[in-house]
């Protein structure tokens, strides 16, 4: 503490400009992150909290939320790990398909999966009923579990793949040479090296599942969860204390998860970057294991492809789920909803660029400058990762919808909310990239006479280019497909594609909803491919 104070005073004296920047950033971040949280918590009171346990439906929602979050997180993380391992380490065919399968759910609004799922596996399901003849009851936690696993495993995959790819093969060879068995190498070396990735991936997934409310709404049946209950209280009853209480309750498991993750992974460095590319081939594993993993990935891929195939087909049929004759009628809704679709794209681009730039700046300051408040800034940058989307939306509605800072009905409120929501994703990627770059490069730049700003733009930004672009694209995709963050803050001129989709769904216009969905997916994929192409032309590539 005392040391921090000293650092702080010294910096204030020596680099006043830097400190102005630090203060500005801290003020903005506190205002955009802490203030909305505080507003939601302030709406609650002790009395309403005591009802959480006495009200049967709320108590069930709490128990259900914890239950489904644990279950779906486990399954998503396992599926993600198997995909990451198979794609990164095994010599099997169809890797291209597997990669696409890990991408599709990211570029589509998650809740749409539930719709196809009902059609394929419901009581009248094409597969369960007509093909296999087994009546399956998917309404409730079982269906929700399956849908959430498919919708969210790609988020864990994105994180885990990077770590599996980076895990040093040399170390495994070293272990083999020391006489370890394959299983020992796997558990004691490989898994340990992947631990931060797996934990990070699981965290991302757990947060998404905790906050998910599209899927529970469509397929949950009587299985109520906190996010849907908070939404029902807000929109069905306009009971703000109850909605705020339920949202605050969601914050508790979210923050715990976040703390557990930090403590478990800790500050140990797992990165084994040597600066040289390893030319070693992965140590071969038993053929039956390899093909077992391959079959598993194939099975999941077939389900995902079926789910999205149904969606595309459904968009061009007369009556979703009943009359499968082809029509272009649903495209009328796509044309009529141009403004919403345009808004989706514009907001996502702004939010993604904002989040990526802010995150690099924050990561740089936190890691390279000792100004005594590093921990606070680091905490602010990762905190939004622990805030469920519905909570954030409610917080922004309270904080910036009122009389004090009225942003009601503006595009800015949506862009800022999406930017904050994406900040942790971008920050963790860019901070990790920055960590692997030795400070000597900047010292060299400074010694050669460059100013801090020049060093930042000409040395640091180019060095973290890959993670910068990847995180920006990921933030874009997350924003385009996001429903929860927007749900309480959209207005006439600022409505977005996902709002349109959920509206069409609740009116039973499932075909039209599919049509708007595949349009959004199409746009998201185009942006992804264009960015990839642009960077490939520049001789660079990035992973997502």
């Amino acid at each position: 503490m005392k040391e921090n104070m000293l650092q702080f005073k010294k910096k204030l004296r020596n680099e006043p400009l830097l400190m102005v920047l630090v203060f500005t950033l801290l003020t903005i971040m506190t205002f955009l992150i802490i203030y909305p949280i505080a507003r939601v918590v302030m709406e609650t009171n002790g009395e309403i909290f005591s009802q959480l346990w006495t009200n049967v439906r709320w108590r069930n929602s709490l128990v259900n939320t914890v239950f489904i979050t644990i279950l779906s997180t486990l399954s998503s993380t396992i599926v993600a790990f198997i995909f990451a391992y198979t794609i990164a380490r095994l010599d099997v065919p169809c890797k291209g398909l597997f990669r696409i399968v890990t991408l599709l759910p990211i570029v589509s609004p998650p809740f749409i999966v539930a719709l196809s799922y009902i059609l394929l596996f419901g009581r009248q399901g094409i597969i369960t009923n007509h093909l296999l003849g087994i009546p399956l009851d998917i309404y409730g936690w079982t269906g929700l579990w399956a849908v959430q696993t498919i919708s969210f495993f790609p988020y864990a995959y994105a994180v885990i793949y990077g770590v599996v790819k980076a895990a040093s093969i040399q170390m495994e060879y070293a272990a083999y040479n020391l006489g370890a068995t394959k299983w020992q190498v796997f558990t004691d070396v490989f898994l340990k090296l992947c631990r931060p990735g797996i934990a990070g991936g699981a965290l991302v997934v757990a947060m998404s599942i905790l906050a998910d409310f599209g899927n529970p709404m469509i397929i949950g049946g009587n299985f109520s969860v906190l996010s849907t209950e908070a939404y029902a209280q807000m929109t069905g009853w306009f009971d703000i204390p109850a909605a705020a209480m339920l949202a605050t309750t969601m914050l508790v498991p979210a923050l715990s998860l976040f703390l557990i993750n930090r403590l478990w992974v800790g500050k140990r460095s797992y990165v084994t970057v040597t600066g040289k590319d390893s030319s070693l081939q992965p140590y071969p594993i038993a053929a039956w294991v390899k093909w077992l993993l391959f079959s598993f990935c194939m099975f999941v891929s077939v389900v995902v492809v079926l789910v999205y195939g149904t969606l595309v087909y459904g968009a061009f049929t007369t009556t979703w789920g009943y009359d499968w004759s082809l029509t272009l009628d649903n495209m009328v809704y796509v044309v009529g909803k141009q403004q919403e679709i345009t808004n989706s794209i514009v907001y996502a681009v702004c939010a993604a660029v904002g989040a990526a730039l802010l995150s690099v700046l924050v990561a740089y300051l936190v890691q390279r400058k000792q100004f005594g408040l590093n921990k606070w800034m680091d905490f602010l940058a990762v905190l939004p990762g622990a805030i469920p989307g519905v909570f954030l939306s409610l917080g922004f509605a309270f904080a910036f919808g009122g009389d004090m800072f009225s942003l009601t009905g503006t595009s800015l409120i949506i862009i800022l909310a999406l930017m904050i929501w994406n900040l942790p994703t971008c920050y963790s990627a860019n901070a990790a990239a920055l960590q692997q770059i030795g400070p000597s490069i900047e010292e060299a730049s400074t010694n050669l006479g460059a100013t801090g700003i020049q060093t930042y733009f000409k040395v640091l930004l180019p060095l973290v280019r890959t993670s910068f672009i990847s995180s920006m694209v990921l933030a874009f995709l997350r924003s385009v497909t996001c429903l929860s963050v927007v749900i309480f803050i959209y207005s006439l001129k600022t409505s977005v594609g996902t709002i349109t989709i959920i509206g069409l769904l609740s009116n039973g216009q499932w075909g039209a909803a599919s049509a708007v969905t595949i349009t959004l997916i199409g746009i998201a994929i185009s942006v992804l491919l264009l960015t990839k192409l642009a960077f490939r032309l520049g001789g660079k590539t990035f992973e997502i």
Binding site: Y139, G236, F238, G321, Y333, S411, S495, S506
Partner: protein, 353 residues
Amino acid sequence: MFNMKKVFSRTAMILAATVALAACGDENDAEVTNTSAQKNSSEPIVVYSSLNEDAMTRIEESFEKTTGIEMDYLLFNSAGEASSRVQAEGKSPQADVLIGGSVEFYEPLAETELLAQYASPNAKDLDPMFLNVDNYFQGWYTGVLAYVLNNERFAETVGAKGVQEPTTWEDITDPAYKDELILPNPATVGSGYIYTATQIFRKGEDEAFKYFEQTAANAHHFTASGGDSINLVSTGEFTIGLHWAHDIIKAAEKGYPIKAIIPEENAIEIGGSAILAGTDQMDESQQFIDWLLSVEGQELIRNETARYSVRDDIAPPAGVPAFSELKLIDYNRVKATEMKEDILSRFTPLTTK
């Protein structure tokens, strides 16, 4: 060729500058938006609606054509969502008019003075039951509760057990409907609560709750939105559900093998419309309400949505009995609103089994 690093750092710099500018620019925008929130008459009126997209497109088209006044609309998934939005925006609303959803949602808005009083000249012909005594809102359509039955699935499931199609509220307590029935959750769906209150008015609270236990035992689950009942029965996931007759008729028109069955001892919803108190386009908003209650507006809502008109001089929608022939119970709206909280806290345990 060219220096990638240079290109990249330049791009990053430009992006950073753009964002910084955009951030400042947006703040200005916000101010501009705020001032322009006080609209001038050349701007379109804004309607918050919980009707569906198709109906709103037609209403917009006809209204603009007839009056020359431009309108814009924002759709909400339910009347609850729309009225929540009006409450949230309070005295400085982003809209001028609220339409759709049962008048029960309009009562609390009138009490908190969020609605403007207006006595439309076109309202003088209407039965007073459709109107608010203080002219804060006016009913402009009405609809009746109905079962939505999937003919094909009924033949395979309940019908196969020798049970006839249901005609009364009691019929769905037959164990043959076990897990074939879905009901709207009265806590979140307007039709669900009116159905629940109807049973209480019909049988008294204790008898009604015996009935609810039987229906809850048969119900596969309670749906969070009213449309779900129709959607899931339409695609044959379940045999029978419950919602507004007009919504069922519209879904059947799309080609689904479903029909609406209107039981006796029924109740109606009265669809509301109101001008928001903070509007600065009072004249245009009043013209919109006038139009809604006009013969043209009423025929349009009947044709587009299969709802009953509130006017006597308009024929009922195709496929349903005349409004005067419906067998309705004496539904006390004031009492229904008063007892809502108690009834729901007693009902809710049934929805979480």
